[in-house]
Amino acid sequence: MQNMISKMSRMYPLFIVMGFMIVIIAFIVGYFNSQAAAAYFAESLLIRETTLIVQRASIESVGLWMLPFKFLGIGFLLGGIVMALRVIIENLIGAGKEVLSNLPPEKRPQMPNPPWFANLMPVVMMLGLVIFLVAFGVGLWLSGIARDVFANPLPSIDAAGAGSSLLAGVQTIHSVDGWLVPLKFFAISTEFLAIMMGLATIVFILESQIKLLDGTLKSSKAAS
């Protein structure tokens, strides 16, 4: 399992490129959506409510999947950083073992086991990415609902009564938005937690290596 994670971690540039590409795509789509909105609001209300209804549905639905999509890009970038930290950790452990291999086996100190959170780091990173993917999926689902709701003229939406499918659509969009925004922040903090675990592991390894070398030095002084 750890070997597979090690191999995957070396693919961190791919995650970073993917994340960056997603953010760039989101920027391009956002720009074209803003141009569509500018063209839409340049027309009179009568034209907007008769011939431009499809454009409004498109503008509203794009706005709903765009934000989770951008967050997904950030998620891939943060995931790439976590994977890069894992590579650094493995290289640090390898370098430490190499230095200690110069000592005679009977005087070679035992390298301490990595802390518990070192093994948890990839799991937390993947959990964060899954939350980002779920948020994006929910965003896509909401955009579909928005496309259906806003395919109707505004007076029809306004006139929709309790229990109607139109009002149910409006209800879903607003109520899901209430928890979807904090969920994205939750996903970001999960990725940050994985980064903190990675950095804490690096700190642990550096401190352990300092202690090991210091111990070697002291024991050799005591022997001589």
Binding site: V99, N102, L103, P104, K107, I157, D158, A159, A160, G161, A162, L167, A168, V170, Q171, I173, H174, S175, V176, D177, G178, W179, L180, V181, P182, L183, F185, F186, I188, S189, F192, L193, I195, M196, L199, A200, I202, V203, L206, E207, Q209, I210, K211, L213, D214, T216, L217, S220, K221
Partner: protein, 134 residues
């Protein structure tokens, strides 16, 4: 070559960063729970159970106006609160990063003192091996 050093002290940042991590988690989870428990049901009730005419006709002090107040005021501080949580995490990460140069310096000092010992030990081992082979 100096081979007597004092064990270097851990950087202070390593004591401070868990506080910011915990603070970040508390703020983010609070924001998520407020969104899930307060905002989502209120929005569901406000938008789903009342037609626009009923919402527009709501008078001051009514439950609908109360819900509208909740839906317009909470998101205005909830998002900054979530950002505050993210910022607390980032401060924690920055503190962890800032401790690494001090640790590398400590490691360099210890390695500098230790290398002559390691070289001496490996030479002794090589000499012992060659004597055994003779």
């Amino acid at each position: 070559m100096n081979n007597t050093i004092q064990t270097p002290a851990s950087p202070w940042q390593l004591k401070a960063y868990p506080i910011f991590t915990i603070l970040g988690w508390i703020l983010i989870i609070t924001a998520f729970l407020i969104g899930l428990i307060v905002l989502a049901p209120t929005a569901s009730s406000y938008w789903g159970e009342n037609a626009k005419a009923a919402r527009d006709a709501a008078e001051a002090g009514s439950a609908l106006i109360g819900q509208l107040g909740t839906l317009t005021t909470i998101p205005r501080w909830l998002e900054p609160l979530a950002f505050f949580g993210v910022a607390a995490f980032m401060v924690g990460i920055a503190l962890e990063f800032s401790s690494i140069p001090a640790l590398l310096k400590n490691r360099g000092l210890v390695m500098n003192a230790c290398f002559p010992v390691i070289v001496k030990m490996s030479k002794e081992e090589a000499a012992q091996k060659s004597e055994v082979s003779k």
